[in-house]
C-alpha cells in the first residue's frame, strides 16, 4: 500500500486510487481463473477416479458371482464388502462431479413430465436394504390429487435420494424415516411439496444455513461419526433451484429433521 499523507495533492490521490482499482481487478481476474481451474481439476479427477473404480467393482462382482469358480461364504462376504466400499466411493465421486458441473454452470435441465410418486417409490425401493440393515422403519405417503411435475427427472431423483440417504445416515437404530408428498396451492401457484423426515439426531437452528453451504459439515472433526463430501445438500439445493423450486428444513437438535422441497406443478388440471 502507498501511504497517503496530508501533503498529497488531489491529483496524486486519484492516481493512487486508480492504481489500487487496477490491482483489485487483476486479483479478481486471477481468482476467477483459479476457480475455473479448480472446477476443471475436480471434473478431471472425478473421471480418473471412476474408471479404476469401475474396474475394481466389475472384477469383484466376477469373483462374487463365482464366474471364476466357487467361493466360500466368508470369501463371498469379503468380496461383497469390496463391492459395497467401491459403490460408496463411486457415489462420493459422483457428488464431486455434479458439484463441479454446478459450480461451472454446466448443469442443464432436461425437463419431462412425470409423477413424483414414481420417483419416491424408486428411491425408497433402492434404500430398503439399508433401512432394514439399520433397523429403521420407512413410511411413504402421497396425498390424493398431487399433480405431475415437468422437471428434470434425474435431478429430482438425485435430490430425493440425497435427502433420504441423509435421513437414514443420521437416524439411529429403531428410528423412523418418512417421505410425505402433498400439493400446496396458493393464489397464483400450485406446488408439489416433498417432505423427508426422520427421528434422528437433528440440527440446531444456528446450523440450518450451514448445511446447505458447500463442503460444510456440522461436525467437521476427523473423528466425526458421519462421513460424506459435505456437498450433498449444496447440490440438492442447486438442483431444486435449477428446476424452479426451493428447499428448506425444520429441525431442532435431538428432535429429528424435516427437509422440504417444493417444485411448481407441471399440470394443474390433474
Amino acid at each position: 500500500m502507498h501511504p497517503v499523507d496530508s501533503s498529497t495533492t488531489a491529483e496524486h490521490r486519484v492516481t493512487l486510487l486508480e492504481e489500487a482499482l487496477n490491482e483489485a481487478a487483476q486479483v479478481n481476474a486471477e481468482l476467477q481463473s483459479r476457480d475455473a481451474l479448480k472446477t476443471q481439476f475436480l471434473s478431471n479427477i472425478s473421471h480418473d477416479l471412476r474408471t479404476p473404480l469401475t474396474a475394481i467393482i466389475t472384477h469383484a462382482e466376477i469373483l462374487r458371482d463365482g464366474i471364476l469358480g466357487p467361493l466360500s461364504e466368508r470369501q463371498r462376504d469379503s468380496v461383497a464388502s469390496i463391492i459395497g466400499g467401491g459403490r460408496q466411493l463411486l457415489d462420493a465421486v459422483g457428488e464431486i462431479l455434479t458439484y463441479a458441473r454446478g459450480a461451472a454452470n454446466q448443469l442443464t435441465v432436461s425437463p419431462s413430465e412425470f409423477h413424483i410418486s414414481a420417483v419416491v417409490a424408486q428411491v425408497s425401493a433402492l434404500n430398503e436394504p439399508l433401512i432394514a440393515k439399520k433397523g429403521l422403519s420407512l413410511s411413504v405417503d402421497v396425498a390424493d390429487g398431487v399433480p405431475s411435475l415437468v422437471a428434470d427427472r434425474e435431478q429430482v431423483t438425485h435430490v430425493v435420494s440425497n435427502l433420504l440417504g441423509n435421513a437414514i445416515a443420521f437416524t439411529p437404530a429403531g428410528g423412523r424415516v418418512w417421505v410425505n408428498v402433498t400439493c400446496v396451492r396458493d393464489a397464483t401457484t400450485t406446488n408439489v411439496q416433498v417432505e423427508v423426515g426422520d427421528t434422528g439426531i437433528g440440527i440446531a437452528p444456528e446450523h440450518h444455513d450451514l448445511v446447505f453451504r458447500e463442503f460444510a459439515q456440522v461436525d467437521p472433526s476427523p473423528s466425526r461419526r458421519h462421513h460424506g463430501t459435505g456437498l450433498g445438500l449444496t447440490i440438492a439445493r442447486r438442483l431444486v433451484e435449477l428446476n424452479g423450486g426451493r428447499i428448506w428444513l425444520e429441525s431442532q437438535l435431538g428432535e429429528g429433521s424435516r427437509f422440504f422441497f417444493a417444485l411448481p406443478a407441471g399440470d394443474v388440471t390433474r
Binding site: 471412476r50 474408471t51 469401475t54 474396474a55 466389475t58 462382482e61 458371482d65 464366474i67 471364476l68
Partner: protein, 123 residues
C-alpha cells in the same frame, strides 16, 4: 456346434476392458477389444460383431462415430450398447438417435450386463 457370440468391447481403459474380457470369455463369448474409434472400426470390419459395448469418450473422438463408421462400411454390429459414466437424458437421446439399443451407466452390475447381452445374442 453354434459359434460363440462375438463381443466387441470399446473402451480406452485397459482396466475396464480387462475386467469385461474376463467376464465375457468366462461366460462363453469371443471377445475383441479396441481402445479407440480407429481400432474399433478395424476390429468390427474384420469380423462381424454380435454385440458392441461402446464407451462414449475415446481418445480419437466421440464413441458414437464408431457406430456410424461401421454402418457406413456395412459392418454394423447386430446390437450396440453405449457404456457411459453419465446418466443424463441428453446422453440417452443422442445414443438412441445414433442407433444404440441401450445406454448403460458404468459400472453396470455384471448380472444385468450378462442378462442383457444373453438376451441380445439369443435372438
Amino acid at each position: 456346434m453354434q459359434a460363440r457370440p462375438h463381443i466387441l468391447i470399446v473402451d480406452d481403459s485397459a482396466l475396464v476392458t480387462g475386467a469385461l474380457t474376463i467376464l465375457f470369455e468366462e461366460t462363453g463369448h469371443d471377445v475383441s477389444v479396441a481402445g479407440s474409434i480407429r481400432d474399433a472400426v478395424a476390429a468390427g470390419s474384420a469380423r462381424s460383431v454380435d454385440v458392441m459395448l461402446l464407451d462414449l469418450t475415446l481418445p480419437d473422438g466421440d464413441g458414437l462415430a464408431t457406430l456410424l463408421e461401421l454402418r457406413a462400411r456395412n459392418a454394423e454390429p447386430r446390437v450396440t450398447a453405449a457404456l457411459t459414466g453419465r446418466d443424463a437424458a441428453e446422453v440417452q437421446a443422442r445414443c438412441t438417435a445414433a442407433g444404440c439399443r441401450a445406454v448403460l451407466v458404468k459400472p453396470v452390475p455384471i448380472a444385468e450386463l450378462l442378462a442383457r447381452v444373453r438376451e441380445w445374442t439369443a435372438a
